[in-house]
Subunit: 649 residues, 2 copies
């Protein structure tokens, strides 16, 4: 099997040109000497969970943040790492392939070799299976040559997603020891980084010398927290999907007879769907987070879509209906819609449209989620798929029987290893299209809908984007993260994730650092169904779309014009040169993140106060400082104690 | 409704840059004066059909070819068109949207205005419906501004595909007369160009002054003959699809657990599937033309795929099986495969793969075609879909009952206006995936298949490519065709199609001309089922993939390595700058077409003979010429009389 991996291969013209692209690194990582500044000990964002986390991770929780600075940076306590003994590092792809993954390997390789030519980087073949079986491939220039800036994980492969059971963890430790690894780098999303943190803790406990480092790589964009602004692959996936969505919008507008229902890969959270909507302006998007917040049933959603279809099909007289619907959509965040006048001019009858559906939607719809939980519970008790329907509760059974056969079959699939449904296999878009068609036909008969025949075409966009050539942004981000991994290793840190922040700025403004993975964890306190067994276990959980965030606000501001005016926008196919080549996710650029920058800024202020208010300063200065600091402290106290301390599911 | 069309709209950065792109025109069309050279009268390629065609098109069959040359070209009989009175021209999008269509309008507009500022170009809104209803939009710089080099047909829209019934033809004539059009330009594929020829004939017969011009625009690439090398949109569609197929290949290779079955839009012929295979090297493609030539049943195809899956899953010992299978695949063209040795080194067990399926495949499989014909016959007799299954012949009924429910429902759909099945709606890829899964599971139980669990994921790639931003090639080709349309109109030609040939060379080598559409027609002599009513009617028929052509040969040469070695190739997303931006379809470049160039070259030779062998030349020269020409004539006579004179379906 090994002979397939890392074999140089024939590339197309575009691939060849891409293979020659050399990503920049920010100034702090240029040259061979880097200064490390340690911040305060990092804590979990959720104070109520902190205690549980610190107990579960006695060796690795509460470690300080690390900032990597240029050699010449004037920071009093920063330490220059000048010794670079040869190291042996292993790297493994965990979880689903995400564009840019290869560049993490490349960046790490470059940094390792730049600091000591005798250092070695080995890749595990076939993901976690290869890690346990000690199947490795030494990374060399030749191996990398045809994988630089290329998509997929095919240089090394990947299989199972998890390294979680005692057996797996011990197997991984045995491999690391047998191969005498100084460090193990795990490339993956929330699940794999949780595993990385657990490995780090276990290794530390067992005094295994291998340090574990995580890297945030997942197309879902759902590994997102105060330290991590976005993940490698998200930009590419959104660009490729947005291109296709835009093409479909143009198609809809040209033919004027189809409603396209497009389901987007991206797991439970709706980040991909949100970003794609901001990129290509389809008529509607049903965000799982909105549905969950408003507790919309499948019938509510169907009605919403039908109202939209009806409103689009009718002229002036339907305006009040449109208004009601849009208003309903917006009352969620108590926002009133003042542009009815504009609509009168722009709105003409339309019998086409494009509706986006995140693959996680099915788990956001309360009654379907409850049904899935019952099904998964029965699976967990060993009931076979064909017998499940007869053992459902009367309520769940009624819902189940109502659903069309194709979706019943899909709901009965065995859940994934993390207890979630097999989202990629459940065709929610077809379910909705069918329900909408039935309802529109009913309204047509009844006479309330007077538009043309409703024609739906369904698509699932996912697999065709996952192996794409990574965008420039993902190439750069991944490559820099690879470099950061090396510096984490050189600093001897364990249980950290490589971070690059201030990403919306140009590369020369990017900040490089590392944060303990355990400080990104939260503790879930309630759950229903079989996943209840996981309760109380700290983990890096996926981040939902923030309904109070700026990206969502941007969507909200435009949703009525998206719905009615067909202001479709085509970002075009992913470009590597010319306009668009340097673009970044809109949701990344509008969010004002730079948490790591602010943490540093705060430190500077505190230092400044200290340096001004030294023993011997005037009484007035001291009084002023005390009074100001008292009020600051009080405000912060109030703010932090008012947090509920509970992280809902 | 009208207010939606031609409205300037907001463009993305990439779209804006594209809108500024100015396609070249070849030297012959530069400047305002063009010389027209008329060739000999064009005849239909099929001599047996010629008589039928000439009877059906008494006014428009047998007209000469036209070549457009630069003003300074030294050609004795060429006529310079120096008068350019103001003209009124109408243009209409017919049939499915194809990337580049907008540029035909732009090119025509530029040429019209360059020759007389008082000329007018009007677009019909909503396709043929707009033509009949006289709904027009005057094309202006402002209207064009945000549609230059952009995809879709949304500047003008399109609806119904045909202008065929007496009512429709008369309606179109009434519109042309009411709007005082000097010419009507029809943008479309085989069906629409057949309609264009019919309109031209009817207009000529009725002494209507409007000349009709056709333009070859269809994503299917199936309007292809001695005069037409490829169609506008084909390149873009293949590029967008190839990108996605390649991404899926990378995905398959990264995850190593899925077989992807991808159906490609492209109607009955397999041009899109062939080109995409040459671009991205998936493991297998099932060309409809191969299936039809070998009369493979759905079970044969299933077996072929299963053998491939099995061979890929096994190592060394399965080589003889592989060899057999590949040999079977190749015996079609009596080709033996000498590379077994190579295989031993490269071949390792694989549990993933990518298989392409043209949407027309279902009509190429003999028993499914027969079933469809029965179903369509019953539709034609007014039997409703729910009653059809009970009225099928015993044989057809048995097949029908064997098929899974989803495909039964799709086969029962009402046929399209040209009597073909609704190919875009029939999920042949799912049918094959299901049959293959069943068979592989059987072999697994039996012990003949020893690979991993077979997992299929199905995709239909079509709608997501149709609205794409056109490639540079399609932008240029369409723009030049638009210019050619003007010169056809200025020359007063009727029933012609605009042609640009020698397309594989750079734009400055392109040849511009026009050929009577009727000379591209053929006459079908047999058929089964309801379409038998069309028999004997000349039409521009879609061209199948030529199994003796160079593109197919190229595929054949590589098919064994594609199948077993995973030499996937990613042409990358469609680029507008840098490498790949100027690429053209592989199938266009390998075919040695340039028919128009050769026709001209032949004329030159004949002229040369005439000029050498003038009265007064020596007896020897005359004798030599006579003897040489006698043998040439004889050879050609034998060649043309040996043609069967029949065009099979």
């Amino acid at each position: 099997m090994d002979s397939d991996y890392g074999v140089p291969r024939e590339l197309s013209e575009v691939q060849k040109k891409r293979a020659l692209y050399q990503p920049e690194v920010p100034p702090c990582l240029q040259g061979t000497t880097v200064r490390v500044e340690y911040g305060d000990a990092a804590i979990a964002a959720d104070p109520a969970g902190a205690h549980v986390i610190s107990q579960a991770f006695p060796h690795t929780y509460g470690q300080p943040l690390a900032h990597f600075l240029r050699k010449t940076a004037v920071v009093p306590d920063a330490k220059v790492i000048s010794e670079h003994p040869a190291v042996r590092v292993g790297i493994v792809f965990c979880g689903r392939q995400s564009p840019g993954g290869h560049n993490v390997v490349w960046g790490l390789y470059e940094a390792i070799k730049a600091h000591n030519q005798s250092s070695k980087l080995v890749g595990f073949l076939g993901g976690s299976d290869g890690l346990l079986a000690q199947k490795t491939l030494e990374i060399t220039d030749e191996v990398l040559s045809s994988y630089k800036n290329q998509g997929g994980y095919d240089m090394l492969g990947r299989t199972k997603d998890q390294i979680r059971t005692k057996e797996q963890v011990n197997g991984a430790m045995a491999s690391c020891q047998a191969l005498k690894l100084d460090a193990l780098v795990i490339i993956g999303g929330v699940t794999s980084n949780t595993d990385a943190a657990q490995l780090a803790e276990t290794f530390a406990e067992a005094k295994c010398a291998t340090k574990v480092v995580g890297v945030p790589v997942t197309l879902n964009g759902d590994l997102k927290n105060q330290f991590v602004e976005t993940t490698v692959g998200f930009d590419t996936i959104c660009k490729v999907n947005s291109q296709l969505i835009s093409n479909v919008c143009t198609d809809a507008l040209s033919a004027e007879k189809y409603y396209y229902f497009i389901r987007l890969m991206g797991r439970k959270a709706s980040h991909v769907a949100l970003e794609c909507t901001l990129q290509s302006h389809p008529n509607m998007v049903i965000l799982g987070e909105e549905v969950a917040a408003s507790k919309l049933t499948i019938f509510d959603i169907t009605k919403q879509i039908c109202d939209a279809v009806q409103a689009r099909a009718e002229k002036g007289r339907s305006l009040s209906l449109v208004y009601d619907m849009v208003e309903h959509h917006l009352t969620l965040l108590s926002f009133k819609w003042p542009f009815v006048g504009v609509l009168l001019i722009l709105f003409t009858d339309k019998n086409h449209g494009v509706i986006l559906i995140p693959e996680g939607l099915v788990e956001s719809i309360p009654e379907l989620y409850a049904l899935l939980q019952e099904i998964h519970g029965l699976h967990g008790r060993g009931v076979s798929a064909e017998n499940i329907s007869s053992q459902l509760s009367p309520w769940a059974s009624a819902l189940f029987e109502f659903l069309p056969p194709f979706i019943r079959k899909q709901l009965l699939l065995h859940p994934e290893s993390d207890d979630s449904a097999q989202l990629s296999q459940i065709e929610t878009e077809k379910l909705l299209a069918q329900l909408v068609e039935t309802e529109i036909n009913r309204r047509l008969k009844e006479g309330t809908y007077k538009g043309k025949k409703f024609n739906a075409i369904c698509h699932f966009f996912g697999y065709q984007a996952r192996g794409a050539l990574p965008s420039k942004f993902d190439c750069d981000y991944a490559y820099v993260l690879g470099h950061v991994c090396y510096h984490i290793i050189a600093a001897g840190l364990n249980g950290y994730m490589a971070t690059v922040t201030n990403l919306k700025s140009p590369v020369n403004k990017w900040r490089c650092g590392a944060a303990p993975i355990s400080s990104m964890m939260t503790v879930k306190r309630w759950s229903r169904g079989p996943s209840a067994t996981q309760i109380g276990k700290p983990a890096v959980h996926m981040a939902s779309v923030d309904l109070k965030g700026k990206a969502y606000e941007l969507l909200r501001q435009s949703s009525s014009s998206f719905l009615l005016e067909d202001i479709y926008r085509n970002p075009g196919p992913l470009q590597f040169e010319g306009p668009g080549a340097d673009s970044k996710p809109i949701s990344l650029c509008v969010e004002d993140q730079d948490y790591m920058g602010r943490i540093k800024k705060l430190q500077e202020y505190l230092e400044k106060v200290k340096s001004i208010v030294k023993p011997g300063c005037s009484q007035d200065v001291l009084k002023a400082a005390l009074s100001a600091m008292a009020s600051v402290t009080e405000t912060l106290n109030i703010m932090t104690s008012s947090s509920t301390g509970q992280t809902p599911l």
